[in-house]
């Protein structure tokens, strides 16, 4: 089986489900003949036609608002924001409608839609193309927020997101779109939403991350191993709702936790995890929970972006501080 990158695995998942579910459609800017600016939908319009892989006018409010309407009337729209920086015009429909459709109609209507978008920095992109604002969606009730970090998880999680009966925001860490190729079988098998994945078992410290920072986190774990420190690495994957059980179980074992996130620090997902650890894991902790995050600044243009993003070194320095306490 040939190895594929994440972006190809996403394409496979969408193709597989378009084949299996006649109610599914894709909508977005440049997703048709162009195959999406990252080629995540490449060749799908060719296979499924322009009534199922639909190029839209340049209008995010329209795309998302229509998806809400289509989902409520029985279809499965999978929409794309070309970059996370352009999702904000969609937010009104996500928070005001998608997330509350089922609740406010007491289950009469629902909103089984997926909003996909590439996000994150580190690819030398222009302004507004590099932010990570997943916490904003994680804060919205009624919406799942899923972030894969490998080709196989991208495949299985996207299938699960499309089949999920409720709205899912599916954020794709574009910095690792083409990193870490894996063999991914196109078998239509989904992965569970709402659980964390333990990528590496360890006994001394728990490193928790998601998205593209998984790359640096795994590298940091390698470096720590060289120093004789055994790190457990957890990919949160679904950041809302949050599977704290897996994280707490790990911290019970290691007694130390460092959370690594590319996004700004203030009110981020890392803070939510830390708060949960304070609530339920505190008696197992040997040291304070630490966060390695981006700064509470505007994401800089690309000349400075690597200074903004957490580096392997920043992770290692933080782990060192944790061990200095205990």
């Amino acid at each position: 089986m040939p190895k594929v990158a994440m972006v190809e695995a996403l394409s496979m998942a969408m193709g597989s489900e378009l084949r299996a579910d006649k109610d599914m459609v894709l909508m977005g800017e440049d997703i048709g003949i162009n195959g999406g600016v990252f080629r995540a939908t490449s060749s799908l319009q060719k296979e499924f036609g322009d009534l199922r892989v639909i190029d839209t006018p340049l209008a995010e409010t329209m795309i998302c608002g229509m998806a809400v309407g289509m989902a409520a009337q029985g279809m499965r729209p999978v929409i794309e924001a070309q970059f996370m920086g352009f999702v904000y015009a969609m937010v009104d429909h996500m928070i005001s409608h998608a997330g509350r459709m089922r609740h406010r109609t007491r289950g009469r209507l629902s909103c089984p839609m997926v909003l996909r978008m590439p996000f994150g920095g580190g690819i030398h992109a222009p302004e507004h193309h590099s932010e990570s604002t997943e916490a904003m969606f994680a804060h919205m009730p009624g919406i799942r927020v899923v972030i894969p970090s490998s080709p196989s998880r991208a495949y299985g999680l996207l299938l699960a997101a499309i089949r999920d009966p409720d709205p899912v925001v599916f954020m794709e860490p574009k910095r690792i779109y083409r990193w870490g190729k894996e063999e991914v079988e196109d078998d239509g098998e989904e992965l569970p939403l709402d659980v964390c994945f333990v990528l590496r078992e360890g006994t001394d410290v728990t490193l928790v991350s998601w998205g593209a920072m998984i790359k640096e986190t795994l590298e940091a774990a390698d470096k720590l191993a060289e120093q004789g420190i055994s790190a457990e690495v957890i990919d949160v994957a679904t950041i809302s709702p949050l599977d704290m059980d897996t994280i707490i179980e790990s911290v019970e074992k290691t007694g130390r936790c460092v959370i690594i996130a590319e996004a700004a620090r203030h009110c981020g997902v890392a803070a939510e995890i830390a708060a949960n650890l304070a609530d339920s894991g505190i008696y197992n902790l040997l040291a304070p929970v630490k966060r390695v995050t981006g700064y509470d600044t505007v994401m800089p243009l690309y000349r400075m972006e690597m200074k903004y993003l957490p580096s392997v070194e920043r992770i290692l320095n933080t782990v060192k501080k944790v061990f200095a306490v205990s």
Binding site: P57, P300, R303
Partner: protein
């Protein structure tokens, strides 16, 4: 009973045909103002030479993704030449022609696409807005600027540009509506270059013109050949002076063509035919104005080669300045966040500086 209660039409303006021949009976004064036309022609050539250079810099890894303005030179410079310094420009992201006319420097353009915020700190009119990547949002900022001029009774006009693709966004209709509701001194240019990345104009909607979006709110709405500098300037001048005099806002649809990839990150051969692009080259604005100037005995090959040499030299200076600009430094990530740096950011700044040691 039924009666027509309102009816509309959209006029199309053009003076120079694609071979640079003046047509129509009323020859505008501008067509005989050769001093002005030559200075405009020079800026058009400089803009294009700069554009090619920027693409070359990107291809050799010295610049980030760059959005070319190839083919838009006449339209953009016409917007610039119809505005006054005190007017306010709210650009999209490829409006270099307008901006160079207004005083933004080539070095600043390179800095921005080279990943450096200092590119947004324009030498040009200090009140102009910076490049706007979130499409169409600039239209409402321009409406806001126009609101200021109206509330303060200043004789100033806000001008903004949005693409054919961007015209599908609600922001554009909201700006048009605001302009109508408040009678704002605003001109919204819809730069119709036929493509929004891979999506052709025909897929944005099925209306005959994009200008007619303005008619829905009762604005003066016209279409112009954006590759004809003379027509573009005159149409813009009329729209701007109308706005300045309190006679209302306008929507100006400029018809042009994006002659190259959307940006350097794009590959237009995936979605459009070479034949279409070749055809579009026959209407491009620079050759057209040159032919006109030549036919009037105002331009020749010798002047052309001198101009090209000058342009290349001027651009080399800008490129050197850009390439020699030192790193903005870590502190720059923090120092412009607020008028005064809050204590938590101060701590983050110190952490970042220490880490970089």
């Amino acid at each position: 009973m039924s009666a027509t209660v309102a009816s509309f039409s959209v006029e199309y303006h053009q003076f120079l045909d694609r071979d640079g021949r003046l047509f129509g009976d009323d020859v505008p004064e501008l067509a005989k103002d050769f001093e002005k036309l030559i200075s405009i022609y020079k800026l058009m050539v400089q803009t294009r030479t700069f554009d090619f250079k920027a693409i070359a810099l990107q291809r050799t890894g010295k610049l980030g993704t760059y959005a070319s303005c190839l083919g838009h030179e006449a339209a953009q410079i016409a917007i610039g030449s119809a505005m006054r310094d005190e007017d306010c420009f709210a650009p999209m992201y490829r409006d270099y022609g307008t901006q160079l006319y207004r005083g933004v420097t080539m070095t600043e353009i390179l800095l921005y696409w080279g990943g450096d915020e200092r590119g947004n700190d324009y030498s040009g009119p200090r009140h102009d807005f910076a490049w706007c990547v979130p499409i169409a949002t600039q239209c409402l900022h321009a409406a806001g600027a126009a609101m200021v001029y109206k509330l303060r009774d200043e004789k100033r006009v806000a001008v903004t540009v949005v693409g054919d693709g961007g015209s599908s966004k609600g922001d554009v209709l909201e700006a048009i509506n605001a302009a109508s509701a408040y009678n704002l001194p605003l001109v919204i240019v819809i730069m119709n270059n036929q493509w929004a990345i891979s999506v052709p104009r025909s897929k944005q909607n099925s209306a005959k013109t994009l200008a007619q979006k303005g008619l829905g709110a009762g604005l003066h709405s016209v279409q112009v050949d954006g590759n004809d500098y003379i027509a573009s300037h005159l149409v813009m001048e009329e729209a701007i002076e109308r706005a300045r005099n309190g006679d209302g806002a306008s929507v100006v649809e400029m018809i042009t063509y994006r002659l190259t990839d959307h940006t350097t990150a794009d590959d237009a051969s995936r979605y459009r035919e070479d034949a279409e692009v070749e055809e579009a080259w026959k209407s491009e604005p620079i050759a057209r104005l040159r032919k006109y100037l030549e036919s009037e005995g105002q331009w020749d090959d010798e002047k052309q080669s001198e101009l090209e040499k000058e342009a290349a030299e001027m651009i080399d200076v800008a490129v050197k300045e850009y390439l020699n600009t030192p790193s903005p430094g870590i502190a720059s990530m923090f120092d412009y966040m607020y008028a005064e740096l809050p204590h938590d950011l101060q701590a983050q700044k110190e952490f970042a500086l220490k880490e970089a040691e």
